[in-house]
């Protein structure tokens, strides 16, 4: 299948932003053979990285966020980053009355200390868990969670649950229903805002029916909108548009070789991804650091003109994509599946003596198109 260039770029950015292996110093340090000795890393050996966990690229973009405002259905949390890298979240009700403060003191990444100070109650201090990497979003989420659990002092029994401190035995909450909007203000005048709403245009992406709700992320620079991302959880589809920079979509089926999305995209990730798209694509346009196709000789170009190397199949109606959202899409999809199952390619149209099954595929497509998309001879098969 002809892979879309946009899908490739999208996947590359997703991979870079999320699953780039983190060079964790800890495991390497733990297995050093002798004091002062250097343990080499042989080529071809996998060095680390945990699929599903966000990598250093993600955290480097996240670190550009200076202010993170999360609106919940019943509260607003605003996290700010100090120059030392500490965070403070101020949690208030919808009228602006302060409910609590939550502070993260970054010490060494392992023994970080958090302090939750409810307005009505006593402060609570705790060490973070080793697997938790505090971010502005986590700080807001943690402050809100402690408030919802009714934690008002350190006399309450606590436990780590999904990397969040919870009251021991507290019931699970539907966090998706509590979230309303997330805004991240970052350095360089960037601001990203993610909100949730129902899918308005189910046919936004030709050939894909979008259902349920959609998270819409708007990226603005100095107040002017520069791009939009849309994540449809039910359809597992991410669509983006940054005019002049990049535009496209990626869905779980594009990533099936990797087991789909290696993580669950959330509003905080969407905000970071929007920023990453803009950054990387701007860099590509400005400096052209992406590998460019080498100029070909005239003889290769001439050969390529008559025998293009792009011979493979595209999803939908090849060469007729304006029909992707019509009744003819059925004909194209059946034809694609027939080609895939029978190992046909575009040459099968004239090399009809090679494969009868390919001829049947083609006959079906013709009769299906002539029948107005109502199916061809092979429809009942």
């Amino acid at each position: 299948m002809k892979t879309h260039r946009t899908v490739m770029i999208g996947f590359a950015l997703l991979a870079a932003a999320v699953v780039v292996p983190a060079w964790r110093a800890q495991p390497l340090r733990a297995s050093q053979p002798a004091q002062g000795g250097v343990r080499t890393a042989p080529a071809g050996v996998r060095l680390g990285g945990k699929p599903g966990q966000k990598g250093e690229t993600y955290y480097s973009f996240e670190a550009q966020g200076t202010r993170h405002t999360t609106r919940y259905v019943d509260a607003i949390a605003v996290a700010e980053r100090s120059v030392e890298g500490d965070f403070v979240t101020r949690l208030s009700d919808l009228q602006g009355n302060e409910i609590a403060q939550f502070r993260v003191d970054r010490i060494d990444g392992v023994n970080d200390v958090v302090q939750y100070s409810p307005r009505a109650g006593k402060p609570l201090r705790a060490f973070t868990d080793a697997v938790v990497r505090p971010t502005l979003d986590w700080s807001n989420h943690q402050a809100y969670s402690l408030w919802k659990d009714g934690v008002i002092s350190d006399n309450v029994a606590l436990e780590w649950k999904n990397q969040v401190i919870r009251r021991r035995g507290a019931h699970s909450r539907d966090e998706g229903k509590e979230f309303v909007e997330l805004q991240t203000d970052s350095m360089g005048g960037f601001s990203t805002k993610t909100s949730r709403r129902a899918v308005r245009d189910p046919d936004l992406q030709p050939g894909r029916r979008l259902r349920g709700e959609v998270f819409v992320t708007q990226l603005a620079k100095n107040g002017a909108e520069v791009g939009v991302l849309k994540w449809v959880p039910e359809s597992q589809t991410l669509i983006w548009s940054m005019p002049g920079l990049t535009e496209g979509f990626i869905a779980a089926d594009h990533l099936k070789e990797y087991g789909g999305f290696p993580f669950v995209p959330d509003p905080a990730w969407l905000n970071v991804q929007a920023l990453a798209f803009h950054h990387f694509k701007s860099q590509m346009q400005k400096t052209g650091f992406v590998a460019q196709q080498q100029p070909r000789r005239w003889s290769e170009r001439a050969l390529g003109f008559f025998m293009p190397t792009v011979l493979a199949n595209e999803p939908g109606c090849d060469g007729l994509h304006w029909l992707d959202g019509t009744v003819f899409r059925f004909c194209c999809d059946i034809h694609d599946r027939c080609y895939e199952a029978s190992g046909c390619n575009w040459k099968s149209w004239w090399q009809f003596w090679n494969s009868w099954t390919c001829d049947i595929c083609n006959s079906f497509a013709i009769s299906c198109f002539m029948g107005g998309g109502g199916g061809g001879a092979g429809r009942g098969a």
């Binding site: 060469g319 304006w322 013709i366 198109f369």
Partner: protein
């Protein structure tokens, strides 16, 4: 030649402005990959065929079919160049129908306009 040139110009314009005006980056620039691009190509052929038209309807249709034939030749070459795809004979057939129809409609409109203009002109006085 005129039909082929018109089709190529339309294709070049679509390629240049594909992401901003026609269909984004999701699919290859090609006039039948986007309704807007299809309409643009058809409109351009319509206009060009209209200019070639004469008052004689039969002659205008013949000229329009020549424009359509040239556009079809360019269409086949461009499709081969960008990658024909697995449905290319159907794409060529539909594309041919579009360019021929657009050219004939343009020529007929052109012929009507010319007739109207001619009938509106005062006749020369007999000498």
């Amino acid at each position: 030649m005129l039909g082929a040139a018109t089709f190529l110009v339309a294709h070049l314009v679509e390629t240049a402005a594909w992401s901003s005006l026609f269909a984004g980056n999701a699919v290859t620039p090609w006039f039948m990959n986007s309704p807007r691009a299809g309409a643009f190509t058809a409109l351009l052929l319509c206009i060009v065929a209209g200019f070639t038209a004469t008052r004689d309807i039969a002659e205008a249709v013949v000229r329009a079919l020549n424009v359509g034939l040239g556009a079809t030749a360019a269409l086949v070459i461009v499709l081969a160049a960008i990658g024909p795809g697995t449905l290319f004979p159907i794409a060529i057939a539909i594309g041919m129908a579009i360019v021929a129809t657009a050219s004939v409609i343009g020529a007929l409109a052109g012929a009507l306009v010319r007739s109207a203009m001619h009938s509106g002109r005062p006749h020369a006085p007999p000498s």
